[in-house]
Amino acid sequence: MANNKTIHEPLLHIVKRDNISIAKKISIYAIAILVSLLLGGIICSIVSPRGNVGKFFTSLYEGCFGTKRKTWLFFQEFSLLLAVSMALIVSFKMKFWNLGANGQILMGGLASIACSYYLGGKINESLLIVLCVLSSMLAGAIWAVIPAICKALWNTNETLFTLMLNYIASGLVNLFIAIWVTGGSGILNPLAYGKLPEIYNKYLLIVLFGIIITIIITIYLRYTKHGYEISVVGDSPNTARYIGINVKKVIIRTLILSGIICGIVGLLLTSGMSNNISADKAGNRGFTAIMTTWLANCNPLFAIATCGLVVFITKGMEMVRPTFGMLDDTISNLVIGIVYFFIIACAFFVQYKIVFNAKTTAILNKIATPFIWVYDKIKLGVLFIIEKIKPIFNKIVKKENTEKEDK
């Protein structure tokens, strides 16, 4: 070749993956979560002299499953978040971005507490509970259906609309608290009437609700005509229109369902727990669920995994904080943020892969060689140990068996 000019080949370029196997996808996510947790552990150990990485992981676990009560609390929170995720999945699947779950939860709770406040003691208690349930469903549905109707009739933007309704809902809750609480404390004392009955203990009802609603929504989306219509509207509104689906009806109907689920969550958070209400009762579950739904790709079964993970980290960090002697939640929020960031960044590696040019690949290989060597040795070592253990293990098993036979 006659040219002496050096050619600057780009260092790397990004190539879209065609199809990725589920095993690979899961392992990418698993690695990301582990690495992010490890990083979180290292940060915590650096910040606090009291802990180390090992302690970080044990506290994470203990925070979720350390005691019987903590385990129940874990599953309670898990179920609540899962239920809100289900509400969002039905509307997200239709590409209706319902960001107003928080408000719908609050309105459900407010309606139920209002029933208890005004009717408590005046009517039969079981009738009151029925009324609480119905009114919370109705309130949640109304709060969701308002933006749906506007979207269906005038094609308004639902993201902004649903988002703003959150603030109106918390404003309404504050207004009613101001009306009900006369002392000026701004805190509503638990009401005496209209508390939901307990099943076995005070957590099981909520857990059951989460399980049942997940099963229902999974079946609803996958096997029913309604679910099919939702998918068509979400995937191609033009096609939906053309095959004779009443798109407006589907939008309104689906958001009613979404609102009802949120309304019931509101009922469980108020009448199902402390039987009072405050503006932060929804605990941002409406927003957290947006993330879990999105990460689960609107698939109800994947949502179980994402919700579980999110609850695990939040609950776990609540335990890490006192163990590591952290006074405020800055560091724990940081760790939660790192984990979220890693999970979200994973989406890139699931969809694309990075291809280095020949020179870089060679350098990377050189760098990787010692690591690969170490990896190989470890692998050999593990295999060797397994080989050694096997006969011993077999002997023990045999011994046990012979002992049993002897007996």
Partner: protein
């Protein structure tokens, strides 16, 4: 190194995941020549061109320009090496003038007056007709294309790549474009042109390079070859290029449309006072430049768009104002293939099975969908139309264009319609798949179905259709027998230069053996007008 070579590609390979778009492609482009690139859909033509123009980066292989190896990793690089690409879909800012669009992205200081004069200079040099001060939103498609070409010339491009430039042009406009291209060739520019149309390849190019399934097949001199040979190289086997016109006995009019007027989304008149009818066993072609009311016409027939005036009758019954579902139930099937090829009639993320039941999911009782039957139907369709797919559960967006369209057209025909309205059913399809679709339509025609075929390629319409209606700005310019007309006549009618309705002083599109009498038609129209009035009130 030969000095007459403008561009050379050596062993270019590009993969997208498992799909190999280009494999070891070699290509040379001489200075001052027009090179055609020919290949079926998915043969990697556009991918290859995108690598030359810096949109993609090749996985392997080298690119030489004027004998020197170069790295083109961005469109700026391509611009630096004087390569300009004119894309299939224009990338212009509507509210800017031609001149403003042309200087957009040029980072030097400029004076709009000078730009105007330079644009006009370039235009007169190569024989373009352009008004540099005209706004793009006021432009016809061919004018927009001119702007795109001048844009790359203004930046001093020596190598021009045109991706299917003739797809949107009438025969007359195509001729004009070719004249311009020839002038550029004389000026020493090198041109690569991608096209599906063999007659154009024969007409314009000096050499032809053929790609098949991402692999380079051969380059031949145009004067030493013929259409048949090119097709064989392209498809890899012998193929009969003749489209058959099934002869049938025509029945009574199935679908009759009288004095129909429709407005577009923006409220402007898209179809004005159009009358036509389709008999059973007849294919009526609709020719016209893109955007002259074809989409609105389809939507009106399918019940998706309100009509302003006139009447639509199916077997003598008015279908105006009926919901879409009822029109489908009457056996009127509409399949419109939009530019993205997935928009209407299919749900791209759905599996073939789920797409099969789009129209029938509500027919069984109970709250659940019946996927079993749909899966069986999907399996049958895959077998019958030789659809290439990994399984019935593959999302249709993963299929190639031809197979997607087979799914759509196939499903429409499964519902055994008596009227098929189909717009651009072979849009972007390669020869093999196109013929598969033509055969499906001919089979339906033999069964006595009436077909409204809205098409782009006049050669195909002349061969396939029985009659052709020509639309220009939403007006019916006349309905001609395909056997008795020529491409030139159709071209003139499409641009509005020839209005047969006016010349012959004849009212087209009113069947003598109509289901309804004149009086009944008038009543229908009056009724529809009242309906429209009520809707508005």
């Amino acid at each position: 190194m030969n000095n007459s070579v403008a561009l050379e590609l050596k062993n270019i390979t590009k993969t997208f995941g498992k799909v190999v778009a280009n494999k070891n492609v070699n290509l040379t482009l001489n200075k001052g020549e027009i090179l055609s690139i020919l290949g079926e859909n998915g043969s990697g033509k556009t991918t290859l061109m995108n690598m030359i123009s810096g949109i993609y980066y090749p996985d392997e292989g080298q690119i030489f320009i004027g004998g020197e190896e170069v790295i083109i990793s961005s469109p700026q690089d391509a611009f630096k090496y004087k390569i300009g690409m004119i894309h299939q879909h224009f990338k212009l800012v509507d509210v800017f003038t031609a001149a403003e669009n042309i200087v957009l992205g040029v980072n030097d200081k400029f004076n709009l007056k000078e730009v105007n004069s330079r644009v006009e200079e370039i235009a007169s040099k190569y024989g373009f007709e352009i008004d540099a001060k005209k706004y793009v939103y006021n432009m016809a498609v061919s004018e927009k294309q001119t702007v795109e070409i001048i844009k790359v010339l203004y930046r001093g491009a020596d190598i021009l790549i045109l991706d299917e430039p003739t797809a949107v042009l009438t025969p007359q406009e195509t001729q004009k474009l070719f004249d311009v291209l020839r002038k550029m060739r004389e000026d020493g520019k090198s041109i690569i042109i991608i096209t599906h149309k063999l007659n154009e390849v024969m007409e314009i190019s000096d050499r032809v390079s053929i790609l098949r399934k991402g692999e380079y097949v051969a380059t031949v001199d145009t004067k030493d070859t013929n259409e048949k040979e090119l097709t064989e190289m392209m498809v890899g086997k012998k193929i009969d290029l003749k489209i058959e016109r099934t002869e049938t006995d025509f029945d009574k009019p199935l679908l009759e449309i009288r004095n129909l007027s429709i407005n577009g989304d923006d409220g402007s008149r898209k179809i004005e006072d159009v009358s036509f009818y389709i008999r059973g066993g007849e294919i009526l072609g609709v020719a016209g430049i893109a955007g002259c009311g074809q989409k609105e016409l389809c939507e009106a027939i399918a019940g998706l768009r309100k009509i302003e005036n006139g009447a639509i009758c199916h077997k003598g019954e008015s279908i105006v104002g009926l919901p879409a579902k009822e029109i489908i139930d009457k056996g009127i099937s509409m399949s419109f293939i939009p530019e993205d090829r997935l928009g209407m009639g299919l749900a791209p993320n759905f599996s073939i099975t789920d797409n099969m039941m789009l129209k029938t999911y509500n027919d069984n009782k109970g709250p659940f969908v019946d996927r079993k039957t749909a899966r069986k139907n999907a399996e049958n369709l895959i077998k019958k139309l030789e659809i290439v797919t990994p399984s019935t559960e593959t999302p249709v967006r993963r299929l190639s264009g031809g197979n997607v369209q087979k799914v759509l057209v196939g499903r429409e025909i499964e519902s055994s319609p008596n009227v098929i309205v189909t717009a651009y059913p072979v849009r972007g399809l390669d020869i093999n798949s196109s013929y598969a679709i033509y055969n499906i339509l001919n089979d339906q025609k033999a069964n006595g179905t009436g077909i409204l075929f809205i098409g782009e390629d006049l050669d195909v319409m002349l061969a396939l259709c029985d009659k052709i209606m020509v639309l220009c700005h939403g007006k019916n310019m006349g309905i001609v027998h395909a056997k008795k007309t020529t491409k030139e006549e159709l071209g003139l009618m499409m641009t509005g230069s020839l209005d047969l309705a006016e010349v012959k002083n004849k009212e087209y599109g009113k069947a003598k053996d109509s289901h309804l009498t004149e009086k009944e038609w008038n009543e229908q129209q009056a009724e529809n007008e009242n309906k429209g009035g009520n809707d508005n009130g």
